[in-house]
Amino acid sequence: GGIITQTPKFLIGQEGQKLTLKCQQNFNHDTMYWYRQDSGKGLRLIYYSITENDLQKGDLSEGYDASREKKSSFSLTVTSAQKNEMAVFLCASSIKLGEQYFGPGTRLTVL
């Protein structure tokens, strides 16, 4: 078995601030994903990466950057946090074209 860890668990930022979320997996999976989930809503794909140093845009990439420096980690940066923004950011990983596993999430609040 394996595990996906996301840090931090809670993130509070100021308007306009650049904020970075981190995700680590020890499944040795090739593909990693970042999703945003607003309260009571479904998941929207921000970025995904099919291998180290690869980046693919999802449907919600504007306002975000991502980085896959090594196979086990995938970082997401909110380039300029928006006031009153509140969402959960979920990281997932999978083997190529396979079943996804999710981390516990990072809850973002922007003051």
Binding site: G42, L45, Y48, G98, E99, Q100
Partner: protein
Amino acid sequence: GQQVQQSPASLVLQEGENAELQCNFSSTATQLQWFYQRPGGSLVSLLYNPSGTKHTGRLTSTTVTKERRSSLHISSSQITDSGTYFCAMANYGNEKITFGAGTKLTIKP
């Protein structure tokens, strides 16, 4: 782009009844997965079922690839089954996963 429609949007049942959740998608799925989410929780994988029928415990998923649909059947529902159920899919050669909006299931005693 690919689209995923889930129905119903919400479902209220009495404990012990069976639940049937539907997922329809706009293109042929080569990856199809059902997830469960408790309020405030993360996503838990229930079944990975791109084609055919799969079972685990009280859950059965049937995916008919040619008809671009999948169903999740929950037998003898329990109060602890309450939560939101999502289906997610990707089509051939594409690792971009699209999620449906979810079905909110409420089981009453």
